[in-house]
Subunit: 157 residues, 2 copies
């Protein structure tokens, strides 16, 4: 494998939401979006309605990326300077977004989902069902992450 070998993909669908870009991150858990899968891939959704949760991989085409490899989580300078690969922020070398979403409804090639923190018009790269093999309840996270989650009243485990 050549390190500079380009890898080429094509979108399989598009995300639509009425939420403006500036509110997507903040409202993440409540956002309802639709994913319209292009006609040629519609049959590939067969049976997906039997899952309650999905991984959605998307291409963050509107993120203004920079070459910085380090950032403060949540832009909070009281938190440790962290590598971008050790962060869920958008500034990764390849701008692939990953979200676990709730599948609310499937109507032919259109999926209605909740919790998808992607901007309106974002291209979809892949969809995968989320299952019990993706569940790791006994995880460890940084102390700052745990403290922040507790402050926001989210069970940090």
């Amino acid at each position: 494998m050549n390190q500079s070998m380009p890898i080429s993909m094509s979108p399989i669908g598009i995300i639509q939401t009425e939420i403006g870009d500036e509110d997507v991150s903040r409202m993440r858990r409540k956002i309802v979006s639709s994913i319209t899968v292009f006609d040629e891939f519609a049959v590939a959704l067969t049976g997906i309605e039997n899952y309650s949760h999905l991984f959605v991989l998307f291409w963050m085409d509107r993120i203004k990326s920079n070459d910085s490899m380090l950032s403060y989580p949540h832009r909070d300078r009281s938190l440790p300077l962290t590598g971008v690969l050790a962060s869920r922020g958008p500034n990764h070398p390849n701008a692939i977004g990953l979200a676990v979403v709730e599948l609310m409804e499937r109507n032919a090639a259109i999926l209605t989902v909740r919790r998808l923190d992607a901007y309106d018009g974002t291209p979809v790269l892949d969809i995968k069902p989320y299952d019990h093999y993706d569940l790791f309840p006994d995880i460890q996270v940084p102390e700052w992450f745990r403290a922040r989650a507790m402050a926001r009243r989210v069970d940090p485990g």
Copy 2:
């Protein structure tokens, strides 16, 4: 967005394992692999050692893809014919692999991980920490999935 718009990425690292391709899927839960992140991205791993689990996104460059949009899960014809996007099989329109792995050790730009079901030499596209927001214990899966997991003595929830 143009439906045929190509999206280009470059690998950020490479996966190495001593397990042969033919055993990767079967031995998934026990496989120990190393991920060597290329030098230019090494500093982007800063702090990743504080997480116990990671998402690894990789490019399945050796999968012989076909254009079929439907398949039998686990090649078992007693199971319902299922769309490839409703399956965790490798034959997706974009051959992005997704695994949640256990981070055993970080040594500079080399991560030692367990449970990565990728072939030796596979290019890595992205790494993201797995955290409590990725945990959805109350999921629903197809009945055949549940039955199969129980037969394999995995807690299906």
